[in-house]
């Protein structure tokens, strides 16, 4: 089972650590956006990727559960921005940009920066199965303790 960047928005403290780290790792431009309500938004590497469908140059490619972006093939047409349901692709003047799961870091055996740096553990780089298992456990415990949910 592959690893993915997974988000637990209830943990996000809107500290922007992921944005600052991502920008540093990607030449000053962050591929993740922290929204004021406390949710980091980044490319979800969809299985049915709408962006892929509109890209006509092969700049977007699906491989090993990832949506990979090849900047050198991008024309900057902005069609993928208009196709992405989550607004997770940006336009840097003349070319698109999006999360590459820190491919340069993974080549060195390192985790994506956002998952590693998140002080609150809101972003993790893990298997979906482990992640859901843990989340269900926590939800069950919280229910058993009789705590209200406070999702604001």
């Amino acid at each position: 089972m592959g690893y993915e960047v997974l988000v637990r928005p209830e943990r996000c403290i809107s500290c922007y650590a992921c944005e600052v780290a991502c920008a540093r790792e990607h030449g000053g431009l962050s591929n993740v956006w922290v929204l004021p309500q406390g949710v980091p938004i980044l490319c979800r590497h969809c299985q049915n990727a709408a962006c892929l469908e509109v890209c006509y140059t092969g700049a977007l490619e699906q491989r090993d559960g990832e949506v990979i972006f090849h900047r050198e093939k991008c024309t900057g047409c902005e069609l993928c921005l208009l196709a992405c349901p989550f607004g997770a692709i940006g336009l840097d003047g003349k070319r698109a940009y999006k999360c590459d799961l820190c491919s340069h870091r993974r080549q060195e055996g390192l985790m994506p920066a956002c998952a590693l740096t998140c002080p609150a553990g809101a972003i993790s780089y893990s298997c979906v199965a482990d992640f859901s298992h843990r989340k269900r456990g926590i939800a069950g415990l919280s229910w058993a303790m009789g705590y209200e949910r406070r999702g604001k």
Binding site: R11, C15, L110, T117, P119, G121, M145, E148
Partner: protein, 681 residues
């Protein structure tokens, strides 16, 4: 390429920060994943830290201020001038005409040597900004528990079953703490946050208590009244390990949850819920910060926290304890090192003849000055009165951080001689006669003590360019003055610290360098593993027992009035750091808030006809400042919030001091908001 382990230069959490170095140049940062506190995490400030290193605004040469502006001078000339001017003032007006501000950003070794220099020159006028953040913890927790520090490590919060957070917005200011609070919550802990402002920390709460500013004691006493009424106190603990409980019980006999509710504005049922949750859980922790300390009743507030913890026996075990979160990377260490006007290294009062003479003999003297020196704010007052003639400020920015900062500017301008040692030409440095540029954290090695009492070694990653480290400067200066005949390496100074401070005796440079997670003091000898959890079997008081000190609510020093109808409170935001010297010119951070803003409740905004983004003038009886309006329900009606990272905010704050800890009452001031700044809308 290699990764050099350093300690993050921002807050007091002490997160490790790896610097990637290639050909002598820092090329990036790397996360250190095997550290028990962070597991690799870093907040936005840590992520941006490298920007400091090669910042174009860094000062690279000593400079003197002349009529035409700044003139660069050589290091020898600069040190000669500094030594001469300090000695001139000492000869003419006596040593107490000198004032020294040490730095919570400098290493333990630098702080130790700096205060040693001041004291060898014959004055205790040496203080630092711990005075402005946690001096009530030092005073209050020392009285109650025998040590003014955090009792348990941050990761130990995961073992808590109830976490009570009072006046701390750690989600923004010590983000790594969130990880462990959330971990506890995942394991079923109940989280209570009391804060007048609905902060990102409050969002983590199971129970949020929006108390009125300056009413901490009423809330704590109300909770204690509930606990006593319902028989939830830990009487066995009280009997075996504490003193003074009867006086506390008597003081609470006429207090009730209803009275607490009246003063705090909280729902009585919520106070009861909080009290029961805290008292009943098998391990409860209290996290507090400047919402507790920065009041004229700061020490009392801290004592009330200690009373609650002691009453319920929630100290000295995993998952329990008191967590005063410290704001600067080495504010704990600077305090330990005795960079405080009334305390020598190891918290020995200057008035303790035995302790003082022991230190004097270590330093080759017969005795040291016994009279406590002037504290941060008092030094500025003395400067205005002409009693202090010269100041030497190492890495602090009082022109922005002092309360009623208008007075501080006057004081600094009046000095015959002011020397400032800093990375940047800060607001304070601009007033100096002599500016000395220093190495930043990555350009020097030394030890830092985190808020957890975790002593860690930070290695030099790159060679400094044109600048010297604080330790080198103090060493050279002391040599010129004739206090010692050589300069010192950090290792040498740390060994002397081990001789001066019993709690550091077992902490050697070799041990620190070999350790990935540091050593918790007290560490009495070299085979001792360190002490992560304090007060397990006995408290650090002379008789080993903790003390209750009854305290009662006192109204804040300033209440809203006809002219100044709003209450102003101040605090921090995640993307900025303290006086702003290390964030306002760091682009990856400052872009989140390039200029000062003020948070106003929608109801107040509507009454005043204010819209989002509008510029307003905020004034208090002491001064005024301009800010941009942010309309938000995070603050209750009648309350405004300003982040204190920008110059001017402290023109408005109160200088009233806590009688014991001498901390200014920053957190509550009366003010008014008027439309239209001088730059128009």
């Amino acid at each position: 390429m290699k990764v050099v382990p350093t300690i993050c230069p921002y807050c007091g959490a002490g997160c490790p920060l790896g610097i990637k170095v290639s050909n002598g140049e820092a090329i990036g940062i790397e996360y250190i994943t095997d550290h028990p506190l962070t597991k690799g995490a870093l907040c936005p400030k840590g992520n941006a830290a490298l920007e400091i290193l090669y910042h174009p605004n860094r000062i690279r040469s000593p400079m003197v201020r002349e009529r035409g502006g700044w003139r660069e001078i050589g290091w020898d000339e600069a040190l000669e001038l500094l030594a001469r001017r300090l000695m001139e003032v000492k000869e003419k007006h006596g040593p107490d005409a000198l004032g020294f501000l040490s730095s919570a950003k400098a290493t333990n070794e630098e702080n130790y040597l700096f205060q040693k220099m001041a004291r060898l020159l014959g004055t205790n006028n040496v203080d630092h900004c711990a005075r402005l953040c946690h001096s009530p913890s030092v005073v209050g927790l020392r009285k109650a528990l025998g040590s003014g520090t955090m009792t348990n490590p941050i990761p130990d919060l995961a073992n808590s079953r109830c976490i009570f957070i009072l006046g701390s917005n750690f989600a923004e200011n010590h983000p790594i703490v969130s990880r462990w609070v959330l971990e506890a919550k995942d394991r079923g802990a109940f989280v209570i946050v009391a804060d007048p402002r609905y902060t990102p920390t409050a969002q983590l709460a199971n129970l949020y208590l929006p108390l009125r500013p300056g009413t901490n004691i009423a809330l704590l006493n109300g909770m204690m009244a509930v606990i006593l009424r319902e028989g939830l106190a830990d009487f066995q603990f009280i009997a075996q390990r504490t003193k003074g409980f009867e006086a506390l019980r008597a003081s609470l006999s006429d207090f009730s949850v209803e009275k607490a509710s009246e003063i705090t504005g909280l729902n009585p049922a919520d106070i009861v819920t909080a009290a029961r949750a805290y008292a009943r859980s098998e391990a409860s922790a209290i996290i507090y910060c400047m919402g507790v300390t920065q009041h004229a009743t700061g020490t009392d507030n801290v004592l009330a926290c200690a009373n609650l913890a002691l009453m319920c026996g929630q100290v000295g075990r995993p998952g329990t304890g008191l967590f005063p979160l410290r704001g600067q990377n080495n504010v704990q260490g600077a305090s330990d090192m005795g960079a405080l006007a009334d305390l020598l290294p190891g918290y020995v009062p200057t008035t303790d003849d035995g302790g003082r003479r022991r230190l004097a003999s270590l330093w080759g003297r017969e005795d040291l000055p016994p009279k406590p020196g002037l504290t941060v704010v008092e030094m500025m007052e003395a400067a205005i009165e002409g009693k202090i003639k010269a100041m030497y400020i190492m890495g602090e920015n009082p022109a922005v951080s002092d309360p009623k900062a208008g007075d501080t500017l006057k004081a600094l301008e009046k000095l015959e001689f002011l020397a400032v040692q800093d990375l940047f030409l800060t607001e304070t440095a601009q007033l100096a006669h002599l500016v000395l540029p220093v190495a930043c954290w990555a350009e020097k090695s030394g030890s830092y003590t985190s808020t957890e009492r975790r002593v860690q070694w930070s290695e030099k990653a790159v060679e400094p360019q044109g600048v010297l480290s604080d330790l080198e400067i103090i060493g050279l200066l002391g040599k010129k003055i004739g206090l010692w005949d050589k300069t010192f390496s950090p290792e040498e100074v740390l060994r002397e610290i081990g001789l001066a401070i019993p709690a550091y005796r077992g902490i050697t440079p070799e041990r620190l360098k070999a350790s990935t997670e540091g050593i918790f003091w007290p560490c009495p000898d070299q085979s001792h593993p360190g002490t992560p959890i304090l007060h397990r079997d006995r408290f650090l008081t002379p008789d080993g027992k903790a003390n209750f000190y009854p305290v009662s609510h006192q109204p804040p020093k300033e209440e809203p009035s006809l002219n100044f109808p709003l209450i102003m409170t101040t605090g921090r935001m995640v993307a900025h750091y303290n006086s702003g010297a290390l964030s306002r010119n760091i682009l990856p951070l400052s872009r989140y808030a390039p200029s000062l803003w003020v948070e106003i409740n929608p109801q107040d905004a509507e009454e005043m006809g204010l819209v989002e983004g509008e510029r307003v003038r905020i004034s208090s009886p002491r001064g005024e400042v301009e800010a941009m309006v942010r309309i938000s329900e995070k603050v209750i009606p009648g309350l405004i919030f300003l982040p204190f990272h920008f110059p001017g905010v402290n023109f408005l704050t109160l200088k009233e001091l806590d009688p014991e800890a001498r901390i200014p009452a920053y957190k509550v001031s009366a003010c008014r908001v008027e439309k239209g700044g001088s730059h128009g809308v």
